[in-house]
Amino acid sequence: MTPTAIPTRFSPLARLLHWVMALAILAMLFIGVGMVSTVSNLRTLLLDIHRPLGMLILVLAAIRLLVRLTHRPPPLPADLPGWQKAAAHLSHLLLYVLMIAQPLLGWGLLSAGGYPVVLFGAFHLFPLVPQDAALFALLRAAHGWVALLLFVTVLAHLGAALFHALVRRDGVFSSMASWRPGNGGSA
């Protein structure tokens, strides 16, 4: 059996998805929290962006999950304290769960609330769940809380990434931020 190469970087596709989705998710968090804070005409524009962007993130997240399951990520540094390794794995798992749950919650709350799920123009999605006011209330509340949780998790993730980049300088940041092709694997 050929020994598998140990990568030092994420695959180019994983890196591309990460940065595109980082921008999209950050934009979504700001758009989402902003659109419910105002009744100016900005609200209408933000809502019109919110739905299709949410579905785009869901599609990209599904692709990304597939990539993650089929491409071995670079290992964390051996000298990283155990609790930080655990925190890294847990927070990444949480990010995957939240970035997939949140658009599903949004799709679900519109469906339960009897809204059409319009993405753009005449294109709309089918209802994800049956119309039900109590379910709508639950999903609507969950969507709001998950947004805050996702934001806090993203901030923690960003802070840890900068800690690796500026303080530890251990290659973790460049494993995702590198422009180089391939995944730097060596047996």
Binding site: V39, L42, P116, V118, Q131, F136, L166
Partner: protein
């Protein structure tokens, strides 16, 4: 234990920099959320102003709380396609449901008051697109924007001691808002329809209609009744039974369907398309684009109109919002009202205990 390599230089400045980056993101998020600017009017503030004015009755809409569902159809004649590519205007009939309501804030309020008579409608075309409308029986609205709406609610909040608004607060508000005074004058001078059946229902706001060639025009619309107009006697309004208007339309529908004609009015240059307090000249030509037929009434408790919201920004392709500030205000306020009442759960409607409505029980 912290994973900081020995000999790391400038540790504290680096940690401060990381903290600063996170603070900028958190601060930006807080700003976007409106937490740093309490004066920003959000959708919650609009509904709070209604709740502060007339209290909360759990499970009910925060305005237009008293209502009755109906089922019917809309038959388009194809003429509307000259103004909009929306498939709702293609000749043919589509099923609709909707809601009659009065503008009152409490579901058990009496019908014999000076208030809006309103028609809300949901229209679904065969391609699955949805158009929702919320229409009042006046061509103009008392306020033009969110700030005035909130101020109006505050100024008309009944003083617990007198049961009426504080005259000074109301007077100050009206002095600052001639558009509301104009609306009050209109209500004073205009007859109140004697029935939901003979009211004309207006879109209030203008919308952007885009035709198949891509041309966009501003359009207001109205539903004109086939039932001949008759007026309520304003002098004896207070003597009307509590559910008189709803009983009356339930009775009419038992006799046969009710019809309205949908007329679209395109704006001409100079018409105020972003101000719902200003009517357009009465001689603006209109296009008749179809007939709404209401066939039967259904109690909210059993009907399709309670567990949804008639958000006027639920629009098909070919119709879009104008820049009228009230559209975003309405969409946001209805969203919050719906979220709050959905969490409160269903409660029996006032009409559920109305003997005249017992025929409607399934």
């Amino acid at each position: 234990m912290l994973g900081v390599p020995a000999g790391t230089r400038y540790l504290l400045p680096k940690l401060l920099l990381i903290g600063a980056v996170l603070a900028v993101f958190a601060g930006g998020f807080a700003y976007a959320a409106g937490w740093l600017t309490p004066a920003r009017l959000g959708q919650d503030a609009i509904v709070d102003s209604l709740e502060d004015n007339h209290g909360v009755v759990p499970g009910f809409r925060r305005a237009h709380a008293k209502g009755l569902c109906f089922i019917g159809s809309f038959a388009a004649n194809g003429q509307g396609q000259a103004l909009s590519r929306a498939t709702a205007f293609a000749a043919g009939s589509v099923p609709v449901f909707g809601r009659f309501s009065t503008g009152v804030g409490r579901p058990d309020a009496p019908d014999g008051v000076v208030t809006f008579h309103s028609l809300a409608l949901s229209l679904t075309t065969p391609d699955g697109q949805v158009w929702r409308m919320a229409l009042d029986d006046t061509p103009i609205f008392p306020v033009a924007d969110a700030a005035a709406f909130v101020a109006l609610q505050a100024a008309t909040t009944p003083d617990p001691a007198t049961g009426k608004p504080d005259p000074k607060a109301l007077g100050d508000y009206l002095a600052a808002h001639p558009e509301t005074q104009a609306f009050l004058d209109y209500m004073r001078d205009s007859p109140i329809p004697s029935s939901f059946a003979n009211g004309t229902y207006y879109s209030i706001n203008a919308f952007r209609f885009t035709d198949a060639a891509g041309q966009t025009r501003f359009v207001r619309w109205r539903f004109e009744p086939e039932a001949p107009f008759a007026a309520l006697d304003k002098a004896t309004l207070a003597t009307l039974p509590r559910d008189a208007l709803f009983d009356e339309v339930i009775d009419r529908l038992a006799q046969g369907p009710l019809r309205w004609h949908l007329l679209l009015t395109p704006a001409e240059p100079g018409d105020p398309v972003d101000d719902a307090t200003k009517a357009w000249p009465a001689d603006r030509p209109s296009v008749e684009v179809g007939v709404l037929t209401i066939e039967r009434a259904v109690l909210e408790d059993d009907g399709p109109c309670r567990d949804i919201t008639f958000d006027p920004l639920i629009l098909p392709d070919g119709i879009a919002a104008s820049d009228d500030p009230l559209l975003a205000v309405r969409s946001g306020a209805y969203s919050v009202s719906f979220t709050r009442r959905a969490a409160e759960g269903p409660h029996p409607s006032a009409l559920a205990s109305d003997p005249a409505a017992k025929e409607l029980k399934p």
